[in-house]
């Protein structure tokens, strides 16, 4: 029915409203590509069939996507007079219970996401109803908080292919207004005044562009909509078209009228079949209703819209290439000037705008430019739709005012990293954009500010990346894309991107060289400055920004041949080996043990990790976090297997023979001497390898025995000292000499060491407890954790009260808590953040709780209260979590609430620092935090011949990291002493099966037996009894052998 006047317009509007708000219940199934991809078709049909079967009077409609793609399929449910409720993750078997509930006027609570009581479509208003107080309003859902739906005003609410519903919410009214006013120049002034900028990426002022076309001379003018959305990860335009195609048509018809054109073309990529289909339907309907074709709305204006599908070239998103493509030529850009407004399609004046730009037109006409420019920032008015994807909890389409800071998207809308990882960067603007590192998340998102950081806002893609993303690989990925999409016309882009890709592939394959970094940087700038079109001009952005903000990752790949994220497969043996700071060949020892060869397995383990039994008990197991087995059930319990192997050998009579075997690998004496300062894990590890390499090693230790924190901080129940002693036997056997009770800096000076040794390795750790500066710490009963643990391990007398409060959330805090419990006290642990933020190993915290420790979270120490100089209580102030800080965690902010905890002992375990006094006279350069500064790769300090490693350079860390430094230092010191690099001299060839398992083992993860909680809290007996032989075998069988490659590396 053709709309030719106001009354017919209103009649259609009424008809549409009767469908949108019928007298009966209405169900709208979200059927964009995201919904359909998650089974929405099935849900739709389930509703239709079930309703038919039950003979119910319920309307079912296909709506578009409301934006929260992670929760698809979304289903709208409306009972007359009540709010519209949006249900999430609806599957066909949810349908009967939903209908049951609806019949009773209820909404299924577990499926309800949010409700909408009334909605402003900007061109009209809809009131749904009130009620359901238990369901949150859509604005209260974190994903939607702060969003302002201008472009997405109708998406997910109205039917996706019914023009009457579009008209019901005020659609085509803006067009009518413009046609009736009949003042195109004035209307274009309005568009200019709104400060709307093109949403395709370049951000050119739309009003100015329209004015240019209006003024251009020519009989035939063209209006084009660029719907070629080619950026990987961007799907805003797709959703806009699939959910609300008429808004695009209206925008274009208005544009045609204002600019004096009668022909519109929508160039949509063929890879969007649903969008093409919905558009075609919309055009058909628009024609039918008199909104396209001749004499539109009876106002004498003619306008045709043609839909043309692309042929699969990203470069055709560039306007001159798009025009070439429309003309039937190869999609290659042309030099500009002349611009399309002067000479475009078939030589005629042409205006091209992105889909999203067109969607902003009707609201600006309806509500005026002042309303529009109120939103956004000064230079960038309005909103932008972003596709928030990647490693974030909530993914989907987000429409925010321009100028919103990046952190709002990641932490508020997205609710932070998914899977508890650390967010590292956000890639904005697709392959033309750049990576913004986490430290710069305060940056507001708009055209100008992102450009300053080397990125662009582009089409609005936002890919969130975490610690498992390799930034070198990200750069390679984007160059691979732009390189394959380059049209090939100009030299810098065609050949430059090819060479850039080769260089990046070399980096990820371990073939990178230092000079390539400089060459790649220069090449990137040349391509950016010299290319013919936007593709080439922006293609280097991902590379230039990652090299600028993540240079250390490139250096790791080139100098150390390591990919910390574990992505570049050719740089590691397997994900577990890669994440282990000692780079243990884990698949090898698991296989050897599996084959029954426990002696070889032990040799493999101990040559990679000389403290295998100790670390087997206390390592924080980074291997677990990357083990691929977790994609089937849970990671392999690697730590407990190498513990078992070491324990078994130590307890057997095979140990002496194996010690001999290992000593036989010792290299010829080099005649060089090395002094190692500190017999902690770092020092012990470096000494072990240096001795095996043939050097004369002496370890200086201030304590009476070796072990460092393993002996003097870790409690007996976690690591029995006799286990540590067994491991030390081997280290002594390979020839390491120890000088105990000698503190360097006091009993012997660094200068002495300098004169007497060929190299010195400082591994003194962090033995100074950080202090909490608050009133009352001078009272008797307040003690630092390290002092407490050290005293207990030395068997000294400790004055511990009956009610102990431990401040802190790390391993030292938990160790102190569990030790105090064993000494008969009541323990409360006070931590200023939440449980999930605690740095302590999860199993330790859970064990502490099982043993009876109390936990108070979100509380920070305020002051200690005493009586006659003795601790009586501690006041803690409740905190709440505020903004995200540089570590990616929410910063605890004190509130006004104070809680009093009665106690007689306060143990401070808030962190360990380097003892600065020692370092002061050393001539070593220190960093601001007090750690010794070293070259990241060689571990050499500012003083020649002096190396440093472990906590003294990294700050308080954990045992395996410390040992990793020791191993690295040994390698570097060896190179220095000999003058050349030796590799593989200590390795041996093992014979073991090289075929991967055909079927993964069905057994789940083996957990070692533990002493029952009540029993163990009474003694210092070792808590974890370890795996049995059977369990260890099962565990070794679970390994998927990621180290085996079938093709050449």
């Amino acid at each position: 029915m053709r709309i030719q006047d106001l009354s017919s317009f209103n009649a259609v509007k009424e008809a549409g409203l009767a469908k949108l708000l019928p007298y009966k219940p209405r169900i709208g199934v979200g059927m964009g590509t995201c919904g359909t991809g998650n089974g929405a078709e099935g849900v739709y049909h389930a509703f239709v069939e079930e309703i038919d079967r039950r003979g119910l009077d319920v309307q079912v409609a296909r709506v578009g996507c409301f934006g929260y793609c992670a929760q698809e399929p979304l289903v709208n449910v409306w009972l007359p007079g009540r709010p519209l409720v949006i249900l999430r993750r609806v599957q066909p078997d949810n349908v009967p219970p939903i209908l049951d509930d609806l019949y009773l006027g209820r909404i299924p609570a577990e499926l309800a996401l949010c409700k909408i009581e009334d909605w402003d479509h900007l061109t009209g208003q809809v009131k749904y109803g009130s009620g359901f107080p238990e369901i949150p309003s859509w604005r209260e859902v974190p994903f939607f908080r702060g969003q302002k739906k201008i472009v997405l005003r109708n998406c997910g609410l109205i039917s996706a292919d019914d023009i009457e519903e579009y008209i019901a919410v005020g659609g085509y009214q803006a067009l009518y207004k413009v046609l009736i006013d009949g003042t195109p120049e004035l209307a274009i002034e309005q568009i200019k005044a709104s400060k709307l900028r093109g949403r395709g990426g370049a951000g050119y002022p739309t009003g100015l562009k329209w004015e240019m076309l209006r003024k251009a001379k020519g009989d035939k003018k063209y209006i084009i909509c660029n719907a070629d959305e080619g950026d990987p990860g961007a799907y805003m335009n797709r959703n806009e078209i699939e959910s609300d195609p008429h808004a695009l048509l209206e925008g274009m018809i208005i544009g045609g009228f204002l600019m004096g054109a009668q022909n519109g073309i929508i160039y949509v990529r063929a890879e969007y079949p649903l969008a093409v289909h919905r558009l075609a339907r919309a055009v058909e309907q628009a024609k039918e209703y008199g909104l396209l074709g001749e004499n539109i709305l009876g106002r004498g204006f003619n306008f045709e819209i043609q839909i043309v599908e692309g042929a699969g070239a990203f470069v055709c998103g560039e306007e001159t290439a798009l025009i070439s493509s429309l003309e039937g030529r190869a999609g290659r850009p042309r030099p500009r000037p002349p611009f399309p407004a002067q000479k475009g399609l078939y030589g005629c004046p042409t205006n091209i705008n992105n889909v999203e730009t067109w969607y902003n037109i009707a609201p600006i006409v309806a509500k005026g430019p002042a309303w529009f420019s109120e939103t956004g920032s000064t230079k960038s008015a309005g909103t932008k739709v972003f596709s928030l994807v990647g490693k974030v909890k909530n993914t989907g389409l987000v429409e925010m005012p321009l100028g919103t800071p990046l952190k709002t998207f990641v932490y508020d809308v997205g609710e932070g990293a998914f899977n508890g990882k650390q967010v590292k960067a956000v890639q904005t603007g697709g392959p033309s954009g750049g990576c913004i590192p986490q430290e710069m998340f305060d940056t507001p998102v708009d055209y100008e500010t992102l450009a300053k950081l080397g990125s662009i806002m582009g089409s609005g893609g936002m890919v969130v990346m975490d610690e498992d993303n390799c930034m070198v690989d990200v750069a390679r990925y984007f160059i691979e894309f732009t390189h394959s999409e380059s049209c090939g016309k100009c030299v810098p882009c065609r050949v430059g991107l090819d060479k850039g890709l080769r260089i990046l592939k070399n980096f990820t394959n371990g073939k990178g060289v230092e000079e390539d970094l400089e060459a790649l940087d220069e090449l990137g700038r040349m391509i950016r400055d010299m290319s013919l079109c936007g593709l080439g001009q922006t293609a280097p952005n991902p590379v230039l920004t990652t090299m600028r903000h993540f240079r250390h990752e490139f250096e790791d790949h080139i100098r150390a041949k390591r990919c910390r994220a574990g992505v570049c497969e050719n740089l590691a043996l397997s994900p577990c080996e890669n994440s282990c700071p000692l780079h243990m060949n884990i698949p090898r020892f698991l296989e050897l043990y599996k084959e029954g060869n426990i002696e070889e397995a032990f040799e493999s383990v101990i040559m990679d990790n000389p403290l295998a039994a100790s670390t087997g008990r206390v390592c924080q197991h980074p291997c677990d976090d990357r083990c691929r087995r977790m994609n089937i059930d849970e990671s392999v319990n690697i730590r407990d297997v190498h513990r078992f192997i070491a324990d078994t050998i130590y307890d057997s009579d095979k140990y002496p023979a194996l010690m001999d075997r290992i000593c036989a690998r010792k290299q010829t004496a080099t005649g060089k001497t090395v002094a190692v300062v500190g017999a902690g894990p770092t020092g012990l590890t470096s000494a072990f390898y240096l001795a095996l390499l043939g050097h004369n090693v002496t370890v200086y230790e201030s304590n009476p025995a070796a072990g460092g924190m393993l002996r003097y901080a870790l409690p007996e129940y976690r690591l029995p000292k006799n286990v540590l002693d067994k491991e030390l036997e081997l280290i002594e056997r390979v020839g390491v000499k120890f000088i105990f009770n000698t503190a360097v800096g006091f009993d012997v000076s660094l200068n002495d060491l300098d004169s007497n040794y060929d190299a010195v390795f400082l591994a003194i750790g962090t033995w100074k407890e950080a202090w909490v500066y608050m009133p009352g710490t001078e009272l008797k009963g307040v003690m630092p954790a390290l002092l407490f643990l050290e005293a207990v391990s030395k068997g000294e007398e400790v004055h511990l009260g009956k009610k102990v409060v431990v401040i802190g959330g790390g391993n030292a805090a938990i160790d102190s808590a569990r030790t105090a419990l064993r000494m008969g006290s009541e323990v409360t642990v006070v931590y200023r953040r939440e449980r999930k933020d605690m740095p302590a190993i999860v199993e330790e915290t859970e064990a502490a709780e099982a043993e009876g420790a109390n936990f108070v979270f979100l509380a920070a120490p305020h002051r200690v209260v005493g009586f006659h100089g003795v601790v009586k209580a501690i006041e803690v102030v409740k905190t709440k979590l505020g903004e995200f800080d540089a570590s990616g965690r929410r910063k605890p902010v004190p509130t006004d609430e104070i809680q009093v905890l009665k106690c007689d002992t306060v143990i401070l375990a808030v962190g360990e620092k380097v003892d600065m006094d020692f370092a002061k006279a050393s001539g070593l350069i220190l960093k601001e935090v007090g750690t010794v500064e070293v070259d990241r790769f060689s571990l050499e300090t500012s003083r020649t011949k002096f190396y440093a490693g472990g906590d003294v350079i990294s700050g308080a860390s954990n045992v395996s990291n410390a040992m990793g430094y020791g191993k690295k230092a040994a390698r570097n010191i060896d190179e220095r002493l000999l003058g050349y690099k030796r590799t593989g001299v200590l390795s041996k060839k093992y014979e073991y099966d090289q075929t991967p398992p055909t079927q993964p083992s069905e057994v789940g993860r083996q957990v070692p037996g533990h002493l029952p909680a009540r029993q163990r809290a009474a003694s210092f007996e070792e808590v974890s009894v370890g795996l049995t032989a059977c369990e260890a075998l099962e565990e070794a069988n679970r390994c998927l052998r990621c180290d085996i490659r079938t093709t050449e590396r």
């Binding site: 470069v315 090939g488 100009c490 810098p492 991107l497 090819d498």
Partner: protein, 236 residues
């Protein structure tokens, strides 16, 4: 007669007329701007990017062969950065395909070689691709060796615009781009080729050559092309 305007090139005033390109004006005034894909008499392609110059007040580098002059424009044709970029562009060309001067008919008479010498290209720092590319000897009189082609499209334009046969065009995209005759048939089987040989003369390297020459023997001249173009009123 188009309007006379004043522009400055490297600080000096040069006579110009509206509608001319920066390159035309520069050449008219005796100023050198390097080009490879440009050929007098053919429409400008702007694809080799060697002719990019700095224009005061414009944020990006502009190709002199396609940019029209404007009154008051100030152009800088050579800076340290431009010189570096141009050298890099030539290096990229050398490493794209297989340019073995020692066995080429155009050795000593090659525009790519001369450009490298002129710009001071002494070494190449990018990895060579060594693509496997064919040689088309099917034509009776001429040879097309893809290994030497720099995709400048001078042959495409001369055949389409001057001869009117449009035998040549570029197929595929990116580094997969390749010169094809007719609908990707062997040159010898082309129905449109008139064997006029203009493409051979237009080609700056030894990619298109006449049969019968040995190494270093092939010289080319573009005089015919310019003459024909001016007689037909087709100017650059």
């Amino acid at each position: 007669m188009p309007q006379k305007i004043a522009i400055r090139i490297d600080g000096e005033y040069v006579e110009a007329r509206e509608g001319q390109t920066i390159l035309e004006v520069a050449r008219g005034g005796g100023k050198y701007i390097p080009t490879l894909c440009h050929l007098d008499g053919l429409t400008a392609a702007g694809s080799c990017r060697l002719c990019v110059v700095e224009v005061s007040g414009v944020g990006r580098l502009m190709p002199a062969c396609t940019t029209a002059v404007q009154d008051g424009m100030s152009v800088t044709t050579n800076t340290e950065k431009l010189a570096r970029y141009r050298r890099m562009a030539v290096e990229l060309l050398f490493t794209e395909r297989n340019h073995y001067c020692a066995i080429c008919v155009s050795n000593g008479h090659c525009e790519l070689q001369s450009m490298a010498t002129r710009l001071g290209v002494s070494h190449v720092r990018y990895p060579y691709a060594y693509p496997r590319l064919p040689v088309d000897v099917s034509h009776e009189k001429y040879v097309l060796d893809h290994n030497r082609c720099i995709l400048c499209t001078r042959c495409v334009r001369v055949c389409a615009e001057l001869e009117g046969a449009h035998v040549w065009d570029i197929a595929s995209r990116g580094v997969q781009s390749i010169l094809v005759s007719d609908l990707q048939q062997p040159w010898g089987k082309s129905k449109n080729c008139t064997s006029c040989g203009k493409c051979v003369q237009a080609c700056p390297t030894g990619a298109l050559a006449e049969k019968g020459w040995a190494v270093e023997e092939m010289t080319k001249t573009q005089d015919n092309i310019s003459r024909l173009a001016s007689r037909r009123g087709v100017h650059a």
